[in-house]
Symmetry: C2
């Protein structure tokens, strides 16, 4: 049983970028750090940006940074966003053709098991994945309001 | 996210055999009923028999039947027995080589999520997967003791 490689990479990408709040990170850099595919990371970056969890800056010197505070990036939401194949057994797909359809209780129990796993992930955010030593550094600084830049209070780990 | 095909097939095999307590079932028959591979079913049958959940009878007229009462075949135990790849992300493998090893909290949270899913499955048995209409038929009759055959009280669905 496992999540797809894409979800695995999404988590690692967020963890990497979350630990470098002082600068933009590039896809090449993250791919090199983990030894994983740039092409996959590009696709994931796009998906995470669509959800507002990453901000990308184009052009020379461009790259990505977190688009929200680590404590606002929920792990369950990230998994749901990336995972394309969200069922545990074949018969949970729409296309499944099984002789037991309609009187089989496996789908209900498996759906419940999956829900239990997701509810667990829903209790955590990216802030829980970052090492305590980087918690102060990774404090999210939102775009400065008209009054000038300000810093948020660091998010304490629970 | 999904279980392997093997676990999916194991569940369906047990459900099929559990609904035919009056006779032996053959692998060819189960493969035909679900439209799945005989080779895969042979491997699964062997694994389930090793755990005592199936009994196999060799030779002409042979086949398989449940080796325990449906209420004694725990779904969590079946999944643990069949599933070879029991981690959600790459870094839960022994062989994983990640630059964050030792200071990464992803593995702990993912292990917790998996444990949550398994604890859910641990609450169910094969008896919960069988249609109510077959519950009386599927009452398990253990091998007769020396005093002669006897029947167990049917297991009621919760």
């Amino acid at each position: 049983m496992r999540l797809t490689t894409m979800t695995d990479y999404a988590m690692r990408l967020l963890m990497y970028v979350g630990q470098k709040p002082e600068r933009l990170c590039t896809i090449a850099e993250v791919a090199g750090a983990y030894g994983i595919s740039e092409a996959h990371l590009m696709k994931i970056t796009h998906q995470l940006a669509l959800n507002g969890w990453l901000e990308t800056v184009r052009g020379r010197g461009g790259g990505m940074r977190l688009g929200a505070a680590p404590a606002e990036i929920n792990l369950g939401a990230v998994v749901r966003s990336i995972e394309p194949d969200f069922y545990l057994v074949d018969c949970l797909t729409q296309e499944a053709d099984c002789s037991l359809t309609g009187r089989c209780k496996l789908t209900g129990i498996m759906s419940g098991a999956l829900q239990s796993l997701m509810q667990y992930l829903d209790r955590y955010t990216l802030a829980d994945l970052l090492p305590p030593s980087t918690q102060i550094e990774t404090t999210y600084t939102p775009r400065p309001p008209s009054g000038g830049p300000h810093r948020q209070i660091p998010v304490a780990l629970g």
